[in-house]
């Protein structure tokens, strides 16, 4: 993917203005359960949807699962702004997401063992 180098804002608007404008000053995402390590992926494999280009950019980026932190880092936008935009996309059915496993729900031992095995293989 070459998205990192792609420039997707108005040249005269400055890098930060456009996305903030799309977020329309909202600092409270409609989805309250989004976290840095929530994974997101585009619901559909084609990016051919009629949305503002900030949203379209996220949809193209999310053709494979990414954490919200990665989306934020790639867009160079604060997490809260990214959560606002992702909330919209989730509300519209264009992004699906998966919250991190809750320690109370997942058998902790299996999870920890899997992580240990994965690190040992590094």
């Amino acid at each position: 993917m070459k998205l990192e180098n792609e420039f997707w804002f108005d040249e005269d608007a400055g890098p930060l203005v456009r996305p903030y404008a799309v977020a329309r000053g909202r600092t409270r995402p409609t989805r309250h359960n989004l976290e840095m390590t929530t994974l997101v992926v585009a619901a559909r494999t084609d990016g051919d949807v009629n949305v503002d280009r900030e949203y379209a950019h996220i949809l193209r980026m999310c053709q494979r699962p990414l954490s919200i932190a990665e989306v934020s880092a790639t867009l160079n936008l604060p997490l809260v702004v990214v959560k606002v935009l992702l909330s919209d996309l989730i509300d519209w059915g264009l992004i699906i997401f998966r919250s991190p496993p809750r320690t109370s729900e997942v058998p902790q031992m299996e999870l920890l063992q899997a992580v240990l095995d994965g690190i040992r293989k590094l």
């Binding site: 009629n50 809750r102 999870l111 920890l112 690190i119």
Partner: protein, 207 residues
């Protein structure tokens, strides 16, 4: 907004989930270096705007009002298997607002506190934070050249941490060394999980 019908296009499934480990410690102790040495991607940087100062944080001298503070942190990724991704977050060392970042600590598997023997006190705050949040952590002493060498036990005493908390020496510039620190943390976490599920003698009936 109107959307094209999705009938013709394929859909993605999302079966993977993500967990995180925090790498904390004082300014310049090697957090980002450690993240980078084990990450499969070049460390990325994300930032959050913190608008509310939480109560109970008494170390915010110089912060007069509820202004928005931007806190940045570096992170890396390790794909454990197709279903599980591990993120390593290096907390910012220089300014301490990350202690107000509830989401950062929430559901973290555990933490590594990096210590620099030239300035051991610079990691007190992190030790304190994880103890209070009941987030299990190990201490890794990053051995800088020309830094005074201490025995692990001396470091423990200086930080006044429990003997049960693993404390190891490392060189975070080396992938294997960073990896070993993470193995130490995971083994410690597994030990804790085991003792939490095995009934202790104290809780089982006497005789």
């Amino acid at each position: 907004m109107a959307f094209v019908s999705s009938e013709t296009s394929a859909t993605h499934a999302l079966s993977a989930s993500a967990v995180k480990i925090l790498i904390a410690g004082g300014f310049g102790v090697g957090k980002t270096t450690m993240v980078g040495s084990v990450s499969e991607i070049r460390p990325l940087r994300t930032e959050e705007m913190l608008t509310e100062l939480s109560s109970g944080v008494d170390d915010l001298s110089g912060v007069e009002d509820k202004t928005t503070t931007t806190v940045a942190l570096d992170f890396g990724r390790i794909t454990i298997n197709p279903e599980l991704i591990l993120y390593l977050f290096g907390t910012p060392g220089q300014q301490r607002f990350w202690f107000m970042w509830d989401e950062l600590a929430y559901e973290a598997l555990g933490a590594v506190v990096l210590a620099d023997t030239r300035r051991l006190e610079s990691c007190f705050a992190a030790v304190d934070f994880f103890e209070r949040r009941k987030i299990p952590f190990v201490v890794a002493v990053n051995c800088f050249d020309n830094a005074p060498l201490y025995e692990v036990q001396e470091v423990r005493e200086a930080l006044s941490i429990d003997n049960a908390i693993p404390t190891v020496l490392c060189d975070v510039r080396k992938r294997n060394s960073s990896k070993q620190v993470l193995v130490t943390l995971l083994e410690y976490l597994i030990g804790l999980a085991k003792s939490a599920t095995t009934p202790t003698e104290a809780s089982s009936p006497v005789q």
